[in-house]
Symmetry: C2
Subunit: 241 residues, 2 copies
DNA sequence: GGACCGGCTGAACACTTGTTTAGTCTGTTG
DNA sequence: CAACAGACTAAACAAGTGTTCAGCCGGTCC
């Protein structure tokens, strides 16, 4: 490895004071949210509040600089962990690496606040899930969908949203330890999730077909058996492909 | 109807200034979040900031009073709309009634901020979904689950979380109009959701059974066929019960 | 009538926020 | 060496926050 940094994809920081401030800000924002005062960040960086403004112009500009940095970090991290991530598990994999804690903390805070980083983050997760799903459908592991893009988007929004909500509903003792928190979340929600993914929820195609009829789409989908059949289709059959 | 209020279950307000302040606070909190200043609320209520503190003691106490009020409102509204809500659709039903807008706005803000109201709100939605799911399973509309409680909790967290995240990712033009926002959300996410509910996502029981084995639970569940069978169970069969 | 009391207010207080200003130090450049 | 430039700071500023204080006003009680 040429740089001191390992395989986390973290953009390099020369030792410059400016970078030290930015790093401290990213850490603080991740830890305490974007409401953190300039004075706190300055203290973290061992520097006067005035210098923060001197280097970045304003707090908003500092925020933007942090966003930029984290964004670059995200794309690099994704590239680095392309092969390693066992398909759609991008988040779980990253949660296990301590070096990613600030990145994920910052991402979570952004997801709660909205904004560009949030959108970019879910976009990356969507793209990741897209290639995984495509492969899995081709391999016969995952059923095809009537609208692959919509499904992937829904699945990402759903898993991230569930995690986020469950984090704010009962905040963990140590919000820093992202790995532990994701693990705790999974032990709680994995069974119902995987069960839903395995057997679905409804016994008949009724609601789906009704909706397809309602939106004017002929219910001869790509995903499942072609004929809706009146009244109570026996089961979610699926000879895929 | 004995009171002036219709069937929204909203707790009555005598015309007292104290109640007027509380009402204004609930509205403003719902509209602009809990960061809203005492001065703004006072202005909304047509009153001096000092009077707000005079009546409630502090801003935090005012916040608590609003929480109490909204909480009482929620349980009353649920009671009122018991029969009307077509099963697990509690949120959609309420979103269509304008009078509930402040309640739902306040609930959303609380879900983003955490706290008691948030927990109580999802708890009520869980209980509502529980009775619906029980009936639906009995009627053969919904498949049984290995852990009904966990499933219901997951489903509620998932739908609320998805809605919340999608609201913060691209904030609607008019955050006030809860009905329109929920409708927009549904037209985007209903198809993938109902498809997942109908046919599931995975083609085999593999992952589910592996997990059941991993946690030491014998995979002879209530939900599906009793025998795991080595290698590739053909399909998500389900003669329930 | 006079005293009291609670609703109510304008003004101020104490504090925190982001930002500015004036100025010091350090190193580089002519 | 003088001069300039940029990193850096202490102190102050302006605005916003929640809260307090002294006092006014209108009604009720002795």
């Amino acid at each position: 490895m040429p740089e001191g940094t390992s395989s986390t994809g973290r953009p390099p920081s020369d030792g410059s004071t400016r970078d030290r401030i930015r790093d401290a800000a990213v850490l603080r924002f991740a830890r305490s949210g974007f409401g953190t005062s300039v004075r706190t960040i300055a203290a973290d960086a061992g520097v006067s509040p005035a210098l923060v403004i001197h280097h970045f112009g304003s707090k908003d500009a500092l925020h933007r600089a942090c966003d930029d940095f984290v964004l670059r970090w995200i794309v690099a991290a994704k590239r680095q962990n392309m092969g390693r991530a066992a398909g759609g598990q991008l988040l779980q994999v990253m949660a296990e690496v301590d070096e990613f804690a600030p990145l994920l903390g910052y991402a979570v805070r952004s997801l709660q606040a909205g904004g560009e980083v949030a959108r970019a983050f879910v976009q990356h997760m969507i793209e990741d899930a897209q290639v995984y799903t495509r492969e899995a459908v081709a391999d016969g592991i995952v059923k095809p969908s009537l609208d692959e893009d919509a499904r992937v988007r829904y699945l990402v929004l759903s898993s991230l949203g569930t995690l986020l909500l469950s984090l704010t509903l009962d905040p963990p003792d140590d919000p820093e330890d992202f790995g532990a928190n994701v693990r705790a979340f999974m032990t709680e929600q994995y069974l119902p999730m995987i069960e839903l993914f395995t057997q679905g929820f409804l016994t008949s195609r009724r609601m789906l077909d009704d909706y397809l009829l309602y939106v004017g789409d002929p219910p001869s989908g790509t995903g499942t058996d072609p004929e809706p059949d009146p009244e109570h289709v026996p089961e979610t059959t699926s000879e895929e492909r």
